[in-house]
């Protein structure tokens, strides 16, 4: 049971970190940041852009831990259906986190002009 909740937490953390990385990546090239947060807010976000690769790294580590806990033998979960569901959730989270992480790098390498 504990392994399952750990796997879910790690999967959720990975998606959150991927989302944060994508937010930082997108905000640095999007006029939306100025509209939403004003000039000073946009400057602050741009100054946090250096955190983006670190967020991606933490997302990757979280996914690794989520898989480890989801596929660990003797995790204490006897119900195969629960195991399957946990593993499915971890896979979905891994895909979402990967897409977000990749998307976060797009503005770093292309300025769309």
């Amino acid at each position: 049971m504990r392994e399952r909740s750990r796997a879910w937490s790690a999967a959720g953390g990975a998606v959150g970190m991927g989302g944060a990385a994508a937010f930082l990546g997108a905000c640095c090239v999007s006029p939306l940041a100025v509209t939403l947060f004003g000039v000073s807010g946009a400057v602050t976000i741009a100054r946090l852009a250096w955190l983006q690769p670190w967020f991606v790294l933490v997302a990757a580590m979280s996914i690794a831990f989520a898989f480890r806990w989801a596929y660990r033998e003797g995790s204490g979960v006897c119900d195969p259906a629960t195991n399957r569901r946990t593993r499915r959730i971890v896979w979905v989270a891994a895909i979402i986190a990967t897409l977000l992480a990749v998307a976060s790098f797009v503005p770093v390498y292309y300025s769309f002009v």
Partner: protein, 208 residues
């Protein structure tokens, strides 16, 4: 019954009068509109010959451009009132920045000798790119989010701006071009101060 109507009508007339008065009184312009001859900027630039001149090209809705402006302000502009330093900021629409974004962006530069220009067509970035030789391999790189320094002898002749002495940028496409360093506000400020020190004997303009 007549009294409330009279009060309402008086109020309406007052509102109309105030709004008309405001419309007739132009707000303090935050920027100059630049047509594709760039004549106004060229004249302003040449009028400051003998000074160190900075030219920035930004999209005022781009957070990284705003960060660049804020960084240079902290490293240099906010800390000096040297009359031999003039700054020209050209705002171009690249990712959606409009004329309405200029005034808020202008608040990031705390220096009386900063002037803002709006080039609606964005032609200025293209011309500057050609002059400065911005490219990545065979690909043209549009000049925005670029930070230029001109020495006292630079003169703008013809339509295109002169080639800068220093060009820093925040463009991913120029990473491979070592002659164009990525913007480092402290290094930029050092380059400017070095040139200002070289002007020690130059006549200092008096404030009016």
């Amino acid at each position: 019954m007549r009294k409330p109507i009279a009060v309402l009508m008086s109020g309406a007339v007052l509102v109309w009068a105030v709004s008309t008065a405001n419309a007739d009184t132009p707000a303090t312009p935050s920027h100059t509109r630049l047509d594709d001859s760039f004549a106004q900027l060229r004249d302003d630039f040449n009028a400051k010959r003998g000074h160190v001149r900075l030219l920035f090209v930004v999209d005022s809705s781009c957070p990284m451009c705003l960060k660049g402006l804020a960084d240079i302000d902290e490293a240099l502009l906010a800390g000096t009132d040297d009359p031999r330093l003039d700054t020209f900021v050209v705002h171009v629409p690249v990712i959606g920045g409009g004329e309405e974004h200029i005034a808020p962006a202008a608040t990031l530069a705390h220096n009386d000798r900063v002037r803002h220009y709006w080039n609606a067509s964005g032609e200025f970035g293209g011309r500057l790119s050609a002059v400065a030789g911005l490219s990545s391999g065979d690909d043209f790189v549009y000049a925005w989010d670029v930070w230029l320094i001109y020495g006292p002898d630079a003169t703008w002749e013809g339509r295109d701006p002169p080639k800068p002495e220093v060009l820093m940028h925040q463009l991913p496409e120029l990473r491979s071009r070592s002659e164009f360093p990525r913007l480092d506000a402290d290094e930029f400020a050092r380059e400017v101060r070095q040139r200002l020190d070289g002007l020690a004997d130059a006549p200092v303009e008096k404030s009016p």
